[in-house]
Symmetry: C2
Subunit: 419 residues, 2 copies
């Protein structure tokens, strides 16, 4: 595991020289809790309230329809999917013109899976991980049903993915970082393995975009989707994004062929003619208020050095895991996240038979993580607004909750009842 501090004083010393420390003031982090759930919902950037107030009062309230204009005469709402996509592209190792911000992760996954299957006619298998985030699997199930059950979903364990690739496989559909275990796949190696069998890759970056350096182009990924409300701090239910490699843009099926994906949306032509490349994957009118909030989050993330961010993230997860393993071996937690830095995302997770009540008791102490069924305690690390000392303290609280069995205490139940 990554080099990490072994005392609270060492954490404070690291905080004092942290090159990312100045980012914390750019977020409105609530003063009390230690928030280790930015992998579920990122915190509010400090600039967001004023930006939204401006969009609402000036662009919508005063500007009205002319704010759609893309010229110098308006704020250019019509270009938001492109503008945000091009700003996000460097954060995920992609070129301008390959990323667009639109719709939800699930809907973008549907579009790209349909587009990928259309490029591999005759191949009948979609390979994924049995433990993939469920909506990815649900969307694949639904698309297969819609297409008349010509495709089957081959679900395998994380270690068996390469072995599951053969000449029948159309698409390898994977989350880059597993939402429960935090396991990080080797995107370049698995993409190469898929390509060797003639299959395409579709990556879900929900837990990696903004969490660690992603190199879509370098890894030769074919397609990707991702989420705006986790590490990108775009706000609850923020729009998602999609990526199409340059080589696939000319021949790209657009199954959700709405007017914003038309070559000339405002000519109101009766027949569909796809816009060039990835723009044809836009569908309806973009939700401007949610897009504006996401832009603030992307702008912030684009300022961060992703390698500094990764170093701090790994140091934090290593610190958390090492204390549990060495100082608190008695508390009954079983680590399920990889110990190897190269295979761990920006979270650590532990199994515990009382996961849910343990987390409630921990939250009552002001440390916020979350629980994933059936028995996983999940802690996410967001280096832009967390300090090493906070992570140190979070482990101490967790160990005390467990040693004291605080979820059993009557005063805890009483308290939980009234809040």
């Amino acid at each position: 595991m990554s080099h990490h501090p072994t005392t609270r004083e060492a954490c404070a010393a690291l905080d004092a020289t942290d090159p990312l420390a100045s980012f914390r003031a750019r977020f409105s982090v609530p003063p009390g809790p230690i928030y280790l759930d930015g992998n579920s919902l990122g915190v509010l950037p400090a600039a967001t309230p004023a930006r939204l107030a401006q969009v609402i009062a000036e662009e919508w309230g005063a500007g009205l329809i002319r704010s759609w204009n893309s010229t110098s005469r308006g704020p250019g709402w019509v270009d938001l999917p492109q503008r945000l996509g091009d700003k996000l592209a460097p954060v995920i190792g992609a070129a301008a013109g390959t990323v667009r911000v639109c719709d939800s992760t699930s809907i973008n996954l549907f579009k790209l899976l349909a587009a990928a299957l259309a490029q591999r006619p005759g191949r009948t298998v979609i390979v994924s991980e049995a433990d993939n985030f469920p909506t990815d699997l649900y969307i694949a199930e639904g698309l297969a049903a819609l297409l008349g059950q010509q495709h089957v979903l081959r679900l395998v364990a994380a270690d068996d993915i390469e072995a599951a690739l053969d000449e029948e496989v159309a698409v390898l559909l994977l989350s880059h970082v597993n939402y429960r275990t935090g396991r990080l796949h080797d995107m370049a190696a698995l993409t190469a393995a898929a390509h060797a069998k003639g299959a395409l890759t579709l990556w879900d970056l929900a837990h990696s975009a903004g969490a660690l350096p992603v190199q879509l182009a370098e890894a030769r990924a074919d397609f990707a989707v991702g989420c705006g409300y986790k590490y990108l701090n775009g706000g609850p239910g923020a729009p998602a994004f999609l990526y199409v490699a340059p080589s696939h843009q000319a021949q790209l099926a657009a199954p959700l062929s709405g007017w914003f994906g038309h070559a000339r949306p405002f000519a109101f032509e009766p027949s569909y003619a796809p816009a060039p490349g990835v723009d044809r994957l836009l569908v309806g009118t973009p939700p401007v208020l949610s897009m504006a909030a996401l832009e603030v989050g992307i702008d912030l993330m684009a300022e961060a050095d992703m390698y500094q961010l990764r170093q701090k993230s790994l140091c934090m997860s290593a610190l958390f895991a090492a204390r549990i393993e060495h100082e608190f071996a008695d508390v009954g937690l079983r680590q399920i996240s990889p110990r190897d830095d190269a295979r761990r995302g920006s979270q650590v997770c532990f199994a515990h038979p009382q996961a849910w009540p343990v987390m409630q008791a921990l939250i009552a102490r002001g440390v916020v993580g979350d629980v994933r069924a059936p028995d996983i305690l999940r802690f996410g690390f967001t280096p832009l607004y967390l300090s090493y000392t906070q992570v140190w303290d979070a482990v101490t609280h967790l160990a005390e909750v467990l040693r004291n069995r605080e979820w059993d205490a009557p005063e805890f139940h009483q308290k939980n009842k009234v809040t």
Copy 2:
């Protein structure tokens, strides 16, 4: 045409006794222009800025993930699609539990068209109007292509719809009010005609929800979609809505089978199991900020008496059209909206060979309408924030622009260049 005032003084007298007049103060209407484009983008409700500031600072900034909770302990983001849908239902003549707010109009149309086709296996025709809003036709084209071209789109003129219905027709897909002409279809009669041939109906309410009384249940409509950012004043790109008649909810295909449409989304089960009824048509995480703004617009509309609103709307469009026809017959406008009140939505439209420059010159005078290709000047009436006097003055300006050929004047071009 509806009874309407014939002098500016009569307009002022009507304004003085207008039962809807108090609504105007509930909107932040820009003080200068006469805005006849609320059918493209509704104006900002006065309560929206404070509500969004609260959602951003308190619910997101301070509340973070616990704001998803649907209990008394949180603001219930997770229930937004249901809460907004149930508030909107009475505005469109639907029962609670039949309307959900989610995604865009185009995406909702895709879902419902796929669901409708699945209920009519063996039938191969989708009937629509050749002049329907293009995205509706594009989505149908794209779905037909995805399903292997088993279905054809039969596009006919508005007057030929009934004749186009036969036993091959699976779905009649229509906009309730035509976006260019403002023509209003008889929903109950066309639905009955479709049902008589065994076909289902799917209505796009983009230009009727919040514009006139819609009676989905009474008309026995099967499915409907609509838009949040026009007459519902939900903000630019506001989420859309969908409706499923109670009789179709048990057997409902969900082609975009995302986790928010799962029976137990937070159990993270590996296989898809649809939520009961219309809830299975939810897909991804709702865009909370855009949803919160739309809720303010829906709350306002739900307060209005839709029959008073319709009466005022018809009086306004009749006033506008009658002045053009009788006072300004010389200005070269050809009305293309129906003269019959029962067949006219909440807009009037005129063809003019110089439509675009005419509109630019009119906007320079402070009257905002819009243009739809190739040659249509479009004026929308939003009775909650427009006065009769404004409509009177708008016609006067339009006639003067045309009589003076103001779009030809060099000072107009000069002015347009610099603004």
